[in-house]
Symmetry: C2
Subunit: 404 residues, 2 copies
């Protein structure tokens, strides 16, 4: 009993039973696992009286009572209502359930989906503050649009501010976007984004694990955020104040082994307190969509805008090497970047092929910027390849003449 | 001959010969090492004719000629002139030569010093753009002042902009600062900082490896920057444009195994292009002096301003664990920080000791912020310690009742 695989388990359980459990307030594969451990199957648990649920699975009275009094008919009505509203129910274990989400520690048992959610699309989450600065708003737009152009689906939470802007920018760039709602899919929160939600449903998907009719409530936001990060390969926090839901998303991302990136801002700006703390704590800086693609190791194969996801073309950002590789690659990035390409050094050396030159002439002959030339000169000096010849002039150290 | 230790070697060589070599344009311990390899001693090299210098040490004509025609008298006059001007000559290997600087790959053979340079003081370099933004200027001032208050000596290059502001702020906070000049110590570059240079000489030190009378020249800046980073345990780049001398200092810091930090700025700001590139390449973000002290593993033992260096009190920032420890400590910082302290979770759990509560009541009883409480609740849920009880209420999972 200790090797229960929630994904396999859910796949074997009827959709109706999973919906019934979710309607009663039993969310997530961990909760299912607990019931199955105690009762052998979800069917047996749903057939048990409240007292037995309390005693054997350690449930408290209200939840045990709701499960014991839940009805198959209620679940069937929910399934029918979803069908009428164009909402698809994706049980964990379904072939169309996103594998990335299925792999998180506590995946939703049943996903409510409006629109098209391609299981293994390339997805990156872009989240942030509701009260965003002009800078944060511009960065959300730019990153959302650039990810979309790279063929990456933008995941966010439909909130006002950064979230909404990232969704909008992805749509305007002709790309796809997924919004995870903190309420039932027949409701939209915030209401001000009702029209945006319709556009998202048309060019992406609206997603929730909450039953139809569920209103948004603050305690639902943190659990919702685990779906945002769970659908994505990386989470980019664009702006976050000191206490921000975006930081909860970042924590989920970490728990789920996703990359966490933050857009740098100015020290002292209220809107940057959370993002700067993330950077300080080891998050990679997101300077644009390229940082995110680098972090997950995706190469962009073409940059034309396009809604590839629903045309079966797959995303144009190609998941290649990931996780471990990306991390090891970043280890020595500072050394490599500051070490500068040998090409610059080669151009300085070449300019000195015919003898001693001053800096201005090296710059003129090599076509380098003064600072580039100076940098290469110091390196070449350190390497013993050239030497200062006085009066601001440099020479190659004689080949074969004992120079180190 | 392949295990020549430049520091030992220089200590055995007379100051006069080292000054003679430097006057002739032979800078750095690597160059000395090369001559000693070829001639057995500096004395022998200085006695050799130009042709022999060219043939045996691979020197080009002008440098070989300058060394061959250099005179002991000229060097003695330089030493006397320095004495008259209150400039101390510190040869590599001298007990007062800063050990940190002696340990870099190519330390200066003779340091010219005006003021008091305590060999093993706690020093951090703060450098940046000449054309600084208001934000950069404010950060330079704040970091310079806070380092000084923590008893750390601020090293910089006396340049206009960030460098000058860091020096000024350290002095105004009653601390010490060291300026490394790209010219002889009887000249001041830039001239506009002549008065600041005098204050630095009085409450810190002016330092150079260039002979008296040497004018500032662009090709001297990069080599000067190796002394800035070489004197410091860490280099903080406050602002840097795309091509900036500060980035050369950062590269030296890396070559010298110093910590490199950069103050975050806004993506798109010209003044932040260089610092953001450093962050992207793996530099740690400097959000203030505390980031720098953390990076080098110094604990601040008292924060009163004071010029401890010349009162023999030592610095109040205590070099403790460093390098490797700091790096390994930072490895898991993101996980730890986002994981939040168990204390917060404990307070949520305690608030639920007597039964089911809604979020508002948990917040009221625990004294936590809503976001803190929500974060802890999700963690406790994940850990199976509490469970949602519907209607936004939470309960502890029954102890000993089979709950995982």
């Amino acid at each position: 009993m200790s090797t229960v695989d929630p994904v396999e388990m859910a796949a074997r359980v009827a959709l109706c039973d999973l919906v019934r459990l979710q309607l009663a307030g039993g969310f997530g594969a961990r909760f299912l696992e607990r019931l199955v451990r105690a009762f052998g199957s979800l069917e047996a648990a749903l057939a048990a009286p409240s007292g037995t649920l309390q005693a054997r699975a350690g449930l408290r009275v209200p939840l045990a009572a709701r499960i014991a009094t839940s009805s198959r008919e209620h679940a069937l009505r929910e399934i029918e209502r979803a069908r009428e509203r164009g909402v698809r129910l994706l049980p964990l274990g379904d072939a169309d359930y996103p594998p990335a989400l299925a792999a998180i520690p506590d995946p939703p048992l049943v996903l409510y989906v409006r629109g098209a959610l391609v299981p293994d699309a390339a997805r990156i989450a872009v989240v942030g503050s509701r009260r965003a600065s002009g800078y944060g708003r511009a960065m959300a737009r730019r990153i959302g649009a650039d990810l979309a152009r790279a063929g990456v689906c933008v995941v966010s939470g439909l909130a006002l501010g950064i979230d909404g802007l990232a969704h909008e920018a992805a749509l305007e760039a002709g790309g796809r976007t997924v919004a995870v709602l903190p309420c039932g899919l027949d409701r939209v929160y915030p209401r001000r984004h009702a029209r945006l939600a319709e556009q998202i449903a048309a060019h992406g998907a609206l997603v929730s694990e909450l039953p139809l009719g569920t209103r948004a409530a603050p305690y639902q936001f943190p659990r919702r955020n685990r779906i945002v990060s769970g659908l994505a390969a990386a989470v980019c926090v664009v702006e976050a104040r000191e206490r921000s839901g975006s930081l909860i998303t970042a924590r989920w991302a970490l728990e789920q082994d996703r990359e966490v990136l933050a857009v740098p801002g100015r020290v002292g700006d209220e809107t940057a307190v959370g993002t700067l703390a993330l950077l300080e704590q080891g998050a990679a800086p997101a300077l644009g969509a390229h940082s995110l693609l680098d972090a997950v190791g995706w190469r962009v194969t073409h940059t034309a805008g396009g809604r590839g996801e629903d045309r079966g073309e797959g995303a144009s950002a190609v998941p290649g090497t990931n996780g471990a590789d990306a991390a090891s690659a970043s280890d020595n990035r500072l050394a490599k970047a500051l070490g500068e390409p040998g090409e610059v050094r080669g151009r300085v050396l070449a300019s000195l092929a015919e003898g001693e030159l001053d800096l201005d002439t090296i710059v003129a002959r090599s076509g380098l910027a003064v600072s580039q030339a100076l940098g290469a000169i110091t390196e070449l000096e350190l390497a013993g390849a050239i030497e200062a010849a006085g009066a601001g002039r440099y020479r190659r150290c004689g080949a074969g003449s004992g120079a180190r």
